[in-house]
Symmetry: C2
DNA sequence: GAATCCTGCAAATTATTTTCTTGATACGTT
DNA sequence: AACGTATCAAGAAAATAATTTGCAGGATTC
């Protein structure tokens, strides 16, 4: 658990002196991470021992341990608790977006249910045919990404972002197949219906979505991704990066699971691409 | 500049004692970041003052400053200089992928040419029609992502991953249009040809690609993304996350540039999606 | 052989933590 | 309601630990 979260959670239980310290740390991270205990104490108008106690309360060994913990999560977590910068200077916008993306990955990692991921990859690896569903800009990208990654491993897979097709495919699927669907909100009713149909036909179903959402509940295995989406309407993107990472993890696990077969297929595709380019082998799969 | 890079660069100029310290820090980061100067000195079999001198040489104020710097880049940079873990345990695979993705974002940010990004977004914002090109799994995704993001801002945009179409479109484009193309390797010869055609017709061209590559050289404005792609053939993904972030930044800047218009269009699309769902406004654009 | 640089020792300084004490607040008892 | 007790916060001072500086011996290089 990271120190920022701990600080937020403990906030209520802290004494007023400790709260002053927390304030300073949260608001002027740069200062806090470089300051000595005396400087920090002075700025918070408390005594050094109080700072030590504050660190201990937060679960750190010592003040320097606290600083390390702080610096450690800072790069990713720093902006998470701060209001989004209002600046529209290109450099700030860039930094903002990148930090958010890193945050999303950070939070994804923290909340990742490894056993669900493992189950999902096992089913995918054993499927005779895989149907990857998702609609709208984001989830349809995830679906085609799944197709993209899995066909290279020698698996049979098709992606669809078309609700009618999804329903028909779900109805046509067999128990030896797997249906995997993605929905950022978890409230894609048509996807839920496709899952229902599949489950009636005993087709294994996997959802990539928010936990406890309708989509999550409709699927047999749910790899849940719970991230707070920023509320700037221009930027609904960072969550998707987390989804992409999930796909990446899934595909990698599937690859390791069916290794011999995958290596061969991959090599063949790569060969084809390379010779078609300029004979330079540096080029990796799928420009 | 981060401490890991500095350490790598200074490596040759360090004395043997200092090299021993660097070795320990690089190989056992966890230890280094938690150790006191005495412990670290003992492990490297040098005296504490040598450690202090080592830190100074690396441009740090003091040992504790060094530790903070270390902890700071660590979360992202730690694994970058370490051989990739060989473990295929799901938790390790997940961590590996996420760390790599964060690294990619980190390196992207470090190498980002803000003025190029700004130029690119200005052109996009002023275009009468935008052609977004890219082929293969990754770049075609980037192209459609561009379409996805830009049409919401009320811009006219089409994406194509088909080389023949790309050539025809490039030939048909007008000087008031913009052609934007992506290529991870920078060696997509057909995309180069499309750029050439466009430039002949005085159509502004933007490339998202590796700097100094054929594609980069063919375009008028290049937003360069230079990342070392890991060499595990199963995972060519992290670079793409960086590309997505670039698209995100571009789209955001364009949005800010044409704000009034964009807000209206966005709201309309959103309205449409929301009413079509379950009336819950929490749902953000483009599931 | 001189100069430079590395390196450790010991002392000095600085930082951090512990201990002890005071003051405040809350709670229970009369 | 008033008093006493318990509990906790917080600082002062002392103790400890960590870090840095100055210096000198030794190695290496030119």
């Amino acid at each position: 658990m990271d120190i920022f979260t701990t600080m937020q959670e403990e906030r209520g239980r802290l004494s007023q002196s400790e709260n002053r310290i927390a304030d300073i740390v949260l608001n002027d991270f740069e200062f806090a991470v470089n300051a000595s205990i005396v400087e920090l104490a002075a700025k918070a108008d408390v005594s050094p021992p109080t700072v030590t106690r504050f660190c201990r309360r937060l679960g750190c060994e010592s003040f320097s341990d606290f600083k390390v913990q702080l610096a450690r999560t800072a790069y990713v977590g720093m902006r998470y608790f701060k209001p989004e910068s209002k600046s529209i200077a290109p450099a700030d916008v860039a930094q903002d977006i990148i930090t958010k993306a890193q945050n999303a990955l950070f939070l994804l990692h923290r909340g990742l249910d490894i056993s669900a991921i493992e189950q999902a990859s096992n089913r995918l690896a054993g499927a005779e045919m895989i149907y990857a569903f998702g609609s709208g800009g984001n989830s349809s990208m995830i679906a085609s990404e799944l197709q993209n990654r899995l066909f290279r491993l020698g698996l049979r897979v098709t992606a669809s972002s078309d609700h009618s097709m999804q329903l028909m495919m779900a109805a046509a699927a067999k128990p030896t197949d797997v249906l995997i669907g993605s929905s950022l909100s978890g409230r894609n009713a048509e996807l839920v219906r496709a899952f229902m149909l599949a489950r009636e036909a005993k087709v294994p179903t996997i959802a990539l979505t928010q936990s406890q959402s309708p989509v999550a509940l409709a699927a047999e295995v749910t790899v849940s991704v719970d991230l707070p989406e920023g509320n700037n309407i221009y930027r609904p993107t960072s969550t998707r990066i987390a989804y992409l990472a999930v796909v990446d993890i899934l595909a990698s696990l599937v690859a390791y699971r069916i290794q011999p077969q995958a290596t061969v297929t991959l090599r063949r595709i790569k060969q084809q691409l390379v010779t078609h380019r300029d004979g330079d082998d540096r080029q990796l799969l799928g420009d």
